[in-house]
Symmetry: C2
Subunit: 342 residues, 2 copies
């Protein structure tokens, strides 16, 4: 285990791969490993990339990785596929990535699939980020297929979240878009050379102006002067971050320098007024709550006799006991076993 820890901190690929497997599968020693690596974390820039299938996310992630590599920065990619194992857990875009990035020692790519447990995936990706952070990667790109809760989980672990759209995917997805927009720090319209890109860009801008809290605040702050904030730097100055809408043609590298600039500007924005610190604080609080919840239920279920639980379920099913009362009784059972806990 000590060898593994040292290996990760030194950035040895084999140790990193093994450590990722240990934490992903929650093998023995995973917590010890994470605890040992934890003091070495907190240095990486973590970028989340999400969006619906068909938007070309994977190609965009590859293009970003190549561009950061060209600047001599080291890049780790975590590709999270929240679709069920039913589909075989195929990670889209892996072939493209492999072709372009294989063999580069400054890049590390890891695919993760769910095992039917969305909460577990959030934990696993958080732990994987820590391993790669401790291993010294300067940038960690976390890519996920857009499927609701997973985007929210990305927003919880990343410092900057990119939401990727593309023209021609149907214009009836307003409701879904609205939910995703809220977590976006930067909106990317990829495949911007395709027909309909203009209308995708303008509809995203319209939605932002209508609904985004930063847009509303900004409109108030500027007395309606800045209705169209095209320049993210202006938003930084204003101490609001209104997500910019950028165009890319990732397959040809189009728009990538501008995207990198926007990412850097968002990073600079986070450095203002300790925003990055308070974001991290929030993330830690969420993690503690998640972990406490899991630990508490595990402990309670270990104390409650299995027959008691089965009997209660049977009584609920017979409608002679209601679920709320059942929970009260289970909590009381814990108390009666430990009479001082009231």
């Amino acid at each position: 285990m000590n060898e593994l820890i040292t290996g990760v901190i030194k950035g040895e690929r084999r140790a990193i791969a093994r450590a990722l497997t240990v934490v992903e599968n929650e093998r023995d020693g995973a917590e010890m490993l994470l605890a040992a690596l934890f003091p070495h974390t907190g240095r990486a820039q973590i970028i989340g990339i999400t969006g619906a299938p068909g938007t070309g996310k994977s190609t965009l992630v590859s293009a970003l990785a190549k561009a950061y590599r060209a600047q001599q920065q080291t890049v780790a990619i975590i590709a999270v596929d929240p679709t069920s194992p039913f589909s075989g857990g195929a990670i889209m875009g892996d072939r493209i990535r492999m072709r372009d990035l294989a063999g580069d020692p400054g890049v590390f790519i890891r695919s993760m699939a769910t095992r039917g447990n969305l909460g577990g995936l959030a934990r696993a990706s958080r732990d994987a980020i820590r391993v790669l952070d401790a291993a010294g990667f300067e940038l960690i790109l976390v890519e996920t297929v857009g499927a609701g809760q997973s985007e929210v989980d990305i927003a919880r672990t990343a410092q900057t979240t990119l939401v990727v759209e593309a023209p021609g995917l149907g214009d009836d997805v307003q409701a879904i878009k609205a939910g995703i927009l809220e977590i976006a720090d930067i909106l990317v319209v990829n495949k911007a050379d395709k027909p309909g890109a203009d209308s995708t860009v303008s509809s995203l801008k319209a939605m932002l102006e209508l609904g985004h809290p930063a847009a509303r605040e900004q409109m108030v702050a500027h007395h309606g002067r800045i209705l169209h904030v095209q320049n993210p730097a202006a938003a930084v100055e204003a101490r609001f971050w209104l997500p910019p809408v950028l165009r890319t043609v990732a397959s040809e590298g189009g728009g990538i320098p501008e995207l990198m600039q926007a990412i850097a500007q968002h990073r600079a924005h986070l450095a203002l007024d300790g925003a990055l610190q308070s974001l991290e604080k929030q993330q830690i609080e969420i993690e503690l709550h998640d972990r406490l919840r899991a630990a508490l239920i595990a402990r309670l279920l270990a104390i409650i006799p299995q027959e008691m639980l089965a009997d209660m379920i049977a009584r609920i099913q017979a409608r002679t006991l209601d679920p709320h009362a059942a929970v009260q009784q289970l909590l009381a059972a814990q108390v009666s076993q430990y009479p001082d806990l009231r």
Copy 2:
């Protein structure tokens, strides 16, 4: 409160509406109300309807409701919109529904939007189902916009889950479809009069054959004889349920009788070997775990001094404490306060 309870059980519309508001907003007395109504639940047939935006789900739900009404059955509709309040929580399709079903005393329609809390929405919809069940509605249709976790939650509360697709929504959504397919008891290709319906039907069938556990089992059981199970009755006989793929043109009522027949067949299938009972048992177990988790964390956070938590977060942020160790310390703090709890 007693008046409210009696009103709901008698099926009085005003009492039902008020009770739904009480449970949705977790107002004072919500738990008492639910406990009082609980013995009167368990009679309704609960049907979940999910799918991506643009598939015509709402129109399908309206068409189903009208058809059940024509058979003198009472119908409640819960339209759950898991998109964030950011979008204003507009419930799609409400206008269509209102036009066709308004004024019918045998129909009750309730829209629910999230308040940024997906877990809370699952709870709220479960509670709303109970109120409507106790009020005596024979059918409860729970409609949700497809957004990942929400479909899974539907599958957890419904007895029969319909997944709605439509032609022409883009063919690059395989990954998402695969995840949703798994929870489908019946697949509906709506807008089946549009171009591309045949290919949507055949691609769904191909996915089912490739991946669905029931299909695999069935293929083994029948030595590959039944590759295309077109007739759900055959699946009932075989004691496997392979989701049928049905075509509808909901806007004109096309395919609705066949869909109702498939729903009835699935219901009959659930009645075999106590499958309905064990489904309900599972649902209760999930509910108890959810409720216990919430109660336990609430109790722990009430005990732990706020400063202790804040101090821990600060130490984690400074990397002098790791999150796992923090949780162990918090649990130990609870124990030290109640020394007998070890």
